[in-house]
Each structure stands twice: as C-alpha cells, then as structure tokens.
C-alpha cells in the first residue's frame, strides 16, 4: 500500500474523528459542569457531535472513493450504514435523559460514542485490519458500558458478553488469518480471485470469519449471549447494541460476503448463512413467546429480524440489498422507539422493561401505549408501518431470486411473532387493574424520541425508493 496520505483520506474518516473528539469533549465538559445540569450538558454535547458527524457523513452521499490505500471506503453503502449507526447512537444517547446515575453519564456517553466510532469504521472498512480494528473498538467499549453500569445483572452481562464475544472474535481472527494465508493480502479486493473458489484454506477462512459476524449479529446458534446481555445491560446500551452494532457488522457482511467473494461457487459458499438466517427467524420468534422482560423479548425479536434481513440479502440482487437496507432502517426506528417508550416508563429500576408493567397502559398512558402499539405492529410487520413494507420488499426479492423457502420461513416466523407482540398489545389494552409502580410522569427526551420514531416508522412507507 502507498504510504503517502492525502487530505481526501482524512476527509473520509473525518466524521469518525469528530465523533471520537466529541467523546473527549463530553468528558471534559463533565469536569467543568455544575452537578444538576451535567446530565443534560453531556447529552447535549453528545447529540451535537453526533449530528455534526451525521452532516459530514451525508455530505459524502453519492461520492465513491477509497482512502488509505483501500483500508477505508466511502460509497453508497458506507454512507447509509454510517447514517444508521449515528441514528442508533442518537436514539440511545437520548435515553440517558431518563436512565442512569448522574455521575456516570459522561463516561457512559463517551464510551458509547467511541463504540459508535468502531461501528462507523466497520461500515467503511476496506480491508481485514480495519474490520478487526473497528470490531474491537466497538466491542471493548461495549464491555465497558455493560461493566460500569451499577444495575443488578449488568456485571454478569458484561462478563458473559466479554467471554463469549472474545471467543467469537478469536474465531473471526483465525478466519482472517486463513484468508490472509489464502490470498496473501489483507485487502478485501483480493478475496475475489477466482482461483480461490476451490481453495480449502480459503473456504475454512470464510467459514470462521462468518462465525464471528454471525455472533455479533446474534444469529442462531451464535445467539445465546444476546438475551442475557440485552436483559442485563442498561436500557440505552441495549438500544445501542440492537441498532448501531448490527449496522456496522451488517456493513462488513455485505462487503465481504456479497461483494468480495469469487463469483464461482459463491452460492455454495454462502448457503450456510441463509440456513442460519432461516433458523434464526423461527427460533427468535418462538423465543419471544414466553418472555417476561421486554428487553429480553426484543433480543429474540432482533434475532429473528436479522434473519429477515439476511433473507433479503440471500439473492445477492441489488433489489435485495435495497430491501435489506430499507428494512434495517425501519428496524432501527421501531427498536429505538420501543426502547424510548420503555425509557418513558422507567424509573431507576427500569420498570419499563418489565412486560407486566404494561398491562392497562392504554388507559393510564394512552399516548405511550399508542406509540408502543405502532412499534409492535411494525415489528410484527403490519401496515401502515414500514415494517410491513419492508417485509413485502424482502418477500418479493427472495421469491424472485428463488429463495422461496426463506420466504416461507419468514411468513411462518411472522405468524408466530404475532402471538408474542399481540400479547403485549393485549396487555396494554386490558382493563385488568395491575399494580403498577409510580413511573416517571413525563420524560421529555424519551417521549420526543418515541414520537419521532413513531412518525418515522409510518412516514417511511411513503414513496419509498421512488427514484
């Protein structure tokens, strides 16, 4: 790779730098700030930084070039994925307005921003090293985020996440090693060499690499950590994990497996991914059925939803990619919205994540209940939400590209999931008077976020892709 670095290279990662700097700024500001406003100052700074980064990212929309000798790529995909990462970060940061201990807010925010940096790095990663770097940056920050929370169960979650994630990273790393061995280069572009199509080392490498990816995406059978960690981690962190992390990892998945592999035998090479996706749809949705904790349920829901997204990618068609992106955007909004509603209802003990607390909500907090209904409808894939449209996109692309069995599994999974989501809706509109802890009357930031997400989830259905 050429050593000389141009300004264009720096421009490519400017947004990431801004985000990282914002993390530092938050910490510094926290030292100076007066006690009773520090929470809001920190959040404000973080949000400003995120929005600034977002502006920079979208300024690059439409441009296509690679920086640092191919280590980092700016293109349509990178911009969109980075956008979603920032969206996730924004939606999670805002939740700290309702949750968490005053004195730890700043640290948590900084960590979250840095973690987001990792995810953004992955979104544009052009070679194996960048991928690894971004992944580790993302993960380490997340371990810490779980660890520093004082919440009961957070530590256990941190430990489990640490050990299992590191193990998976080990597999991923070894896979990278094999790929490097097979190709003699760390650049993704080198993977597309037709000669590799029958190279056993290469195949093994691909397999191990996918293990690492599948773990981060919490696909069955590498999903086992997700429910526990989602339940244990603090609400904002869970929200972040469910959106930002997955955005970065998905970007890698697309780049490596869809755009870089040799075209020959590629369908054989990818078949296990689609099988895994199909299993995830079923297991994830079945897992939701008997849950009592909202975050845990959303973990299973996330497992299934990632399955849907992979189903869209299965064909490898452009339309499938669009479908996946659209559904993922919708997915981000509905998840962030659901977590926002949970935050609205949460006091210090996160009452909002206990499903039992939702019974009769429709009569106590009609607006919150309405928003929650919208998000659940969207997750279940019912109109008039983007969830429905996204699923139709996916169905169409997977049927057209001949993966009918994935479409069928998607429909079955959706049918099962309806029961689970329906349970919560039913609870919300049941007249049974359930003893409910005194939830905070009004959490402006969370409510705002919930409202925006609700509107977005419906607005996304208008004129999608009418270009």
């Amino acid at each position: 790779m050429s050593a000389n670095v141009t300004n264009a290279d720096w421009a490519a990662v400017l947004s990431i730098a801004v985000l990282g700097a914002t993390g530092l700024a938050v910490l510094v500001a926290d030292l100076l700030a007066r006690t009773f406003v520090r929470r809001y100052i920190a959040i404000a700074i973080a949000m400003i930084g995120i929005i600034a980064a977002g502006a920079i990212v979208f300024a690059q929309y439409g441009t296509h070039y690679s920086a640092f000798g191919g280590a980092f790529v700016v293109d349509y995909a990178s911009v969109l994925f980075q956008g979603i990462v920032l969206l996730g970060a924004l939606g999670s940061v805002i939740l700290y307005g309702a949750i968490g201990e005053e004195r730890r807010i700043a640290g948590a925010l900084a960590l979250m921003l840095w973690s987001a940096c990792g995810a953004m790095l992955m979104s544009g990663a052009g070679n194996l090293m960048t991928i690894f770097l971004g992944l580790e940056l993302l993960s380490l920050a997340l371990y810490a985020l779980c660890g520093i929370a004082e919440r009961a169960g957070a530590h256990e979650a941190a430990l489990k996440y640490l050990i299992l994630s590191s193990t998976a990273t080990g597999f991923l790393l070894y896979g990278m090693g094999l790929l490097f061995g097979a190709t003699g280069s760390v650049a993704l572009s080198a993977l597309s060499n037709p000669a590799l199509a029958t190279n056993p080392i290469f195949w093994t490498g691909v397999g191990l690499f996918f293990v690492g990816i599948a773990f981060k995406l919490s696909l069955v059978p590498f999903h086992t950590w997700a429910p526990d960690v989602y339940e244990g981690a603090p609400l904002p962190v869970t929200a972040f994990m469910s959106v930002a992390t997955k955005a970065g990892v998905l970007a890698v998945l697309v780049r490596v497996f869809l755009w870089s592999l040799p075209s020959q035998h590629v369908s054989d090479m990818l078949l296990p991914m689609w099988i895994v996706a199909g299993i995830s749809m079923i297991v994830g949705n079945v897992g939701m059925l008997a849950q009592r904790d909202l975050k845990r349920m959303l973990a299973y829901s996330g497992i299934a939803q990632i399955g849907y997204i992979l189903a869209a990618l299965a064909g490898g068609s452009a339309e499938g990619f669009n479908a996946a992106l659209y559904y993922f955007a919708a997915y981000s909004f509905m998840n962030l919205g659901a977590f926002a509603v949970a935050a609205m209802l949460s006091g210090d003990r996160e009452e909002g994540s206990v499903i039992a607390n939702y019974s009769g909500l429709g009569y106590r907090r009609p607006w919150a209940a309405l928003a929650m209904t919208v998000f659940l409808l969207a997750m279940a894939g019912l109109p008039p939400t983007a969830g429905f449209l996204g699923k139709v996109f996916i169905l169409r692309s997977s049927v057209e590209t001949g993966y009918v069995w994935l479409a069928a599994l998607l429909i079955v999974g959706t049918a099962i999931s309806l029961y689970a989501y329906g349970r919560i809706v039913r609870a919300m509109y049941d007249r049974s008077t359930h003893p409910v802890p005194a939830a905070k009357p009004f959490v402006p930031l969370a409510a705002l976020s919930a409202a925006i997400c609700a509107i977005a989830v419906i607005a996304l259905t208008f004129y999608p892709f009418s270009r």
Binding site: V211, F222, L271, G287, A290, Y419
Partner: protein, 647 residues
C-alpha cells in the same frame, strides 16, 4: 281499476283497523264489513267483463325481464273472488256479534280484512310469484287468527303448527317456480301454459308435484292435514271463513288453475286423485270419532276438500269447482250455526254436553239440519249435485276405485253428520251432567276450562243479535239452491258448464262412463241412506235417547285409540322431524361449537406457548454452555466448509 279496488279496499280496511283500532272501538267491525262489501260489489260489477273470453287483465309492474306482475279475472277467479268477498261479507257481519266485547275487537277485524286481501291477491294474480305471495299471506292471516287468543298455549301452538306446515307448502310451490322460471323464463301463467306443451313428462310431473305440495298443505290433504283440526282453536267465524269456505280450498283453485298442466300429466293426475281420495276417506273416518263440534266439522271439511281435490285432480274440474262452490255455503253455514250454539252455551263445544238444543236455538237447529242434508247430498240440496258430479266425473275419467271410495265416503259422511245432528239436538240437555259420567277425560275438562276465550261475547250474548242470525239465515238459501245451477236435462249445457265452457275445454271430452249418471245418483243415495240409517239406529231411537248418557259414555270410552290419536300422524311428525331437528341443534350448539371447533383453536395457541417455554428452558444462563453451543455451531460450519468444497 275496479279490480284494484276490489283488491286493495280490504287492505286499507285492515290497515285502518290495525292502526286506529284503539280509537275505532266497535266501529272497526262495521268498517271492515263495509270494506269487504265494497270489494264484493266491485267484483260483481266485473262479472260481465270477466266472463268474456280472455277475461279482465291488468298489468301492474315488473321487477325485471320475465318478472312481470299483473291481475287477471276469468270465470275461475271470478267465482272464487265472489265467494271470498260474498261469504266473507256475511261472516264479517256475523263476527261483529260474535266477537262483541272482545279485548282485541279491532285487531280481529284487521286480521280478517287482511285475510280477504291476501286471498283476493291469491286468486287474482296472473303469475306464480303473485300467487305465492297471496299463498303466504293467507297463511299468515290464518296464523294470526288461529292464534288470536294468544294467551292460550294451545292456540299459540296450533297457530305455529299451521304456519309451519303451510310454509312447507309454500316451499313446494317455490320449487315448482324454480322449474318453471328455469324453463319458461317468465312467471306468468299464460306463458307457462303456452310452453307447457313442450315440457317433457318428468319435468311436468315435477312441476305438478311441487305445486301439489303447496295445494296439499293449504288444503289439509294427507299427510299435511294435521293442522286443520287444531286450527279450530281460532274463533268460530275464522273457522267458517278461512278453514272451511275459502282458504283451505285454495288448493282446489291451484289445481283447477293449472288444469293445462295436469291434463298433460297422467301421473300427476293419479297422484293428486289418490291423495284426494285418501284424504276424503280418512277425514270421514276420523270425523266419526270426534266429540268437539268444531272438530267434527273440521274433519268433514277435510274430507269434502278431499272430494274436490280428487275431482279436479283426475280432470273433473267442473265438478270439483262446483263442490267448492256449494261447500262454501253449507259448510260456512254449519260453522256459523254451531257458533250460535257455542255462543249460547258459553263456549261449550263438546257435543256430549249438548243435546235437546232444538228449543233453545231453533235457528241453529234448522240451519244445521239444512247443512247436514246438503253435505250428505240429499237430492234437491246443493251438495247432491256437486258431489254426484265429482263421483261421476271420477268414473268418466277412468278411476273406478276412486269412484268406490267416493261412494263409501258419502256413506260415512252421512253417518257422522247425522250423529252430530242427533247428539246435539235430540234428547234432553246434558250440560249439567257430570263430565265423568259422559266419559270425558279429566284433562279434557281442564281443556274446556282453559278454553274460555279472553272474554268472547262477554257472557250476555245468549240471544244473538240479528247480526249473527241474519248471515246464518241468508246462507240457508244458497246451500239449498246453489246446486240447481248444475242441474240440466242434457249433460253439457247446464248454466254451470256454460259458465266454465271457456275455462275447462277438457271437461267436455270426457269418455262415456260405464255407469250412467242417474245410476250413480241412485247408488250414492242408497249409500247415504244406509249411513243415515246407522246414525238413526245409534242415536235417534227412543231407547237410544232414553239412556243417551250411558251410550255416549261407553262410546267415548270404547273409542279405538287409533281413531282418537288420528292414526298417530301427529305423533309421527313430532317424534321424527321436530325432535330430530332439536336434537341435532343441541348437538351442534352444545358440543360441536364450543368443544370441537374452539377446542382446535385453543390447542394451537397452547402449543405455541409450549414451544416458547421450551426455548426458555434451553437458555440455561451458563456461559460455558453457551460457549459449547457456539463451538458446536463452528463444528458444523467447518464440517461444511472443509468437506463441502467443490472439487
């Protein structure tokens, strides 16, 4: 216009009585009577036009192509219309007295007028649907009037029974209409008859069968007859008008109206003739076993209609219609007269508690005597001519065994009618004899008590007002003389046959009979006299009258169960159809719905939750277990990627 007037005035009367009843009070009766009278006059004014070839026709409106509605008045419908409105008028008049003081006086006349309207619609329609509408509405009117005293359980049940059995009839006609519309694409009689020549025998038979189900239900033919005796729960004028003179003869009208269809289908003729004959004999036999004066008359009605159906069925249209004509008079008269008695005895209907009433109700005595002579077919009285025409006509159309049945029935009729007459009027009054001595079942006594209508006549009407006597007296005239219209020295050219010359061309070409008419008359007379003789021997002799109580007692105790239960037809229908339906219903409603269908749904939901619990169980929470799962997954992957490489 006149036709519409004749049709709609009674309807207007009905609506007026129904809506303004509370304000009209007793005026309602006169209003209704007047309405029927107007209708009668209007019909009468149309006589001339109606008897022209083609008759009067009035097109009304059309639903869509093929569904054109209109009214028509030809000799046949003219005859019916005149009887309906004429006899109806008299009976309305009578009812003013009979129903005097009833709690729902106005409503009664609303129903009666409504009935007249419906019946006129039935006979005036020029199409099947119109006929069916009338058919259904007369059934409704009869339902209302049978159940008029609706606080009485028995009346309510009887009304429902009558309605449902009649609906079965309607359904039969509907079926015939399906066939007709499917093949003719028009609902008008004219088109149907015009096309009937092209029908195949099976189609024609099916149509006739469907129509005849309707006729049988309406005219109380076996096996759909069971509602008629129960229908006597209604007030007596109702029995006279609807269940004797007019409605129950609608079947006869229908068959006569469809002469072009029947005359082309020998099988249908056979069917109808057989049913008619059967009904005639069964009705007569059951008539001998009754004690309630109205039930006796009811069974006699049934048997007489059997005659008519038999006649029109086999093609002796003129005879059958003629018998309807005469029967309308003398049967109405019999009912009204018995109404006088019932009235005089405070709603006592059991003949065993009567006797020696000649002095108390002389008018009733004479009226019933004339009626009995007429129905038995004593020469000179109306019944004689019409019944002879039927019996002779049956033979001429080549059904000797029906001929025999007809004669036999005539004999039995003579017996039970005179039985009625003797028991009621001879001997001395038994009203104050203990019922048990008369062999009346105790529950029958209870029934009598429950039989006390809401407040009919409110007691004081011992001496009936002229409104009640006049119609009875007036009716005596036609029931004696009406028959002479049929009399002629030379067969074909009686005024009657001239009147119907255009209507029933087929009646002319009847084959020469094996037995000449005068002989038939003599044989019939002989049989009738025999029947009368038996009756006299059993009830009219000195000794019989001396110990009437004992005689009646052991007769009623020794009455064969078979007859008492009317051949168990009711029991059969109830046991098989009614109970069967309710059994199925409760089976479906109580077991299939809640347990089988919903059970399946619940099962699905439960199994879903089961899977959820299973997954929870697998999620043990142990890090190393998770790690193991991951490693196993990796194993599978490697297995695929290492061994699955294309070579």
């Amino acid at each position: 216009m006149m036709l519409l007037l004749a049709l709609l005035v009674p309807l207007a009367g009905a609506i007026a009585c129904w809506a303004l009843g509370p304000w009209l009070r007793n005026l309602a009766g006169w209003l209704a009577t007047a309405a029927v009278g107007i209708s009668f006059v209007a019909t009468l004014l149309l006589w001339g036009a109606a008897t022209q070839p083609g008759g009067v026709h009035l097109a009304l409106f059309s639903w869509m192509s093929g569904f054109d509605f209109g009214l028509t008045l030809d000799p046949l419908s003219l005859l019916w219309a005149l009887i309906i409105t004429g006899v109806g008028f008299l009976i309305h008049l009578y009812s003013i007295g009979y129903m005097h003081g009833d709690r729902a006086f106005a409503r009664f006349f609303a129903y009666m007028n409504f009935f007249i309207f419906a019946m006129m619609l039935l006979v005036l329609s020029d199409n099947w649907v119109g006929l069916l509408v009338g058919w259904g509405l007369v059934g409704l009117a009869s339902y209302f009037l049978i159940g008029f005293w609706f606080e009485r359980r028995s009346a309510v049940a009887a009304a429902r029974k009558a309605f449902i059995l009649n609906v079965i009839g309607d359904v039969g006609i509907m079926f015939a209409i399906f066939l007709i519309v499917a093949n003719v694409h028009s609902i008008r009689f004219a088109d149907t008859f015009a096309a009937s020549a092209t029908f195949g025998a099976p189609l024609l038979y099916a149509i006739c069968a469907g129509l005849f189900i309707g006729a049988a239900a309406k005219s109380a033919q076996v096996p759909l007859h069971t509602w008629l005796p129960d229908a006597m729960e209604g007030p007596t004028p109702v029995s006279a008008l609807i269940h004797a003179a007019t409605m129950v003869t609608a079947g006869v009208y229908l068959v006569a109206r469809c002469a072009p269809l029947w005359s082309h289908s020998p099988r249908a003729q056979m069917l109808v003739g057989t049913i008619g004959a059967l009904t005639a004999i069964v009705g007569a036999i059951l008539g001998t076993a009754q004690w309630d004066i109205k039930r006796i008359l009811a069974y006699s009605t049934m048997s007489q209609i059997g005659y008519m159906i038999m006649g029109v069925g086999v093609g002796a249209y003129a005879g059958g219609v003629a018998h309807f004509f005469t029967h309308a008079f003398f049967k109405a008269q019999l009912f009204l007269a018995s109404g006088l008695i019932i009235h005089a005895l405070h709603n006592e209907q059991d003949v065993r508690k009567m006797g020696g009433l000649r002095a108390r109700t002389p008018l009733a005595f004479w009226a019933i005597l004339v009626g009995v002579l007429a129905i038995c077919g004593i020469p000179g009285f109306s019944g004689f001519f019409s019944k002879d025409q039927i019996i002779q006509g049956v033979l001429e159309n080549g059904h000797p065994w029906m001929y025999g049945v007809g004669l036999l029935t005539a004999g039995i009729t003579a017996y039970y009618m005179f039985r009625l007459f003797f028991i009621t009027f001879l001997g001395e009054y038994r009203g104050n004899v203990d019922p048990a001595q008369l062999g009346m079942a105790p529950e029958a006594v209870g029934a009598e008590v429950a039989h006390e209508p809401a407040s009919t006549g409110s007691g004081e009407a011992h001496a009936p007002a002229w409104v009640m006597n006049l119609p009875v007296a007036l009716l005596i005239v036609p029931s004696v003389l009406a028959g002479w219209l049929l009399f002629s020295t030379d067969g074909a050219s009686s005024p009657w046959s001239r009147f119907f010359a255009a209507q029933f061309p087929t009646a002319a070409q009847a084959s020469a009979a094996a037995v000449p008419e005068w002989a038939t008359a003599l044989i019939a007379l002989g049989v009738v006299l025999a029947g009368i003789g038996v009756a006299v021997a059993r009830y009219a002799t000195r000794s019989a009258q001396a110990n009437a109580v004992a005689r009646l007692r052991d007769e009623s105790l020794r009455m064969p169960k078979l007859l008492v239960n009317a051949f168990y037809v009711d029991t059969l229908i109830d046991g098989v159809f009614v109970r069967g339906a309710r059994l199925l219903g409760s089976l479906f409603g109580r077991i299939l719905d809640p347990h089988v269908i919903d059970g399946a749904v619940r099962g699905v939901a439960a199994s879903a939750v089961g899977f959820g619990v299973l997954v929870r169980a697998l999620q043990s929470g142990l890090v190393r277990a998770y790690a193991l799962v991951i490693v196993l997954g990796v194993g599978c992957f490697l297995a695929y990627y290492v061994f699955g490489i294309p070579r």
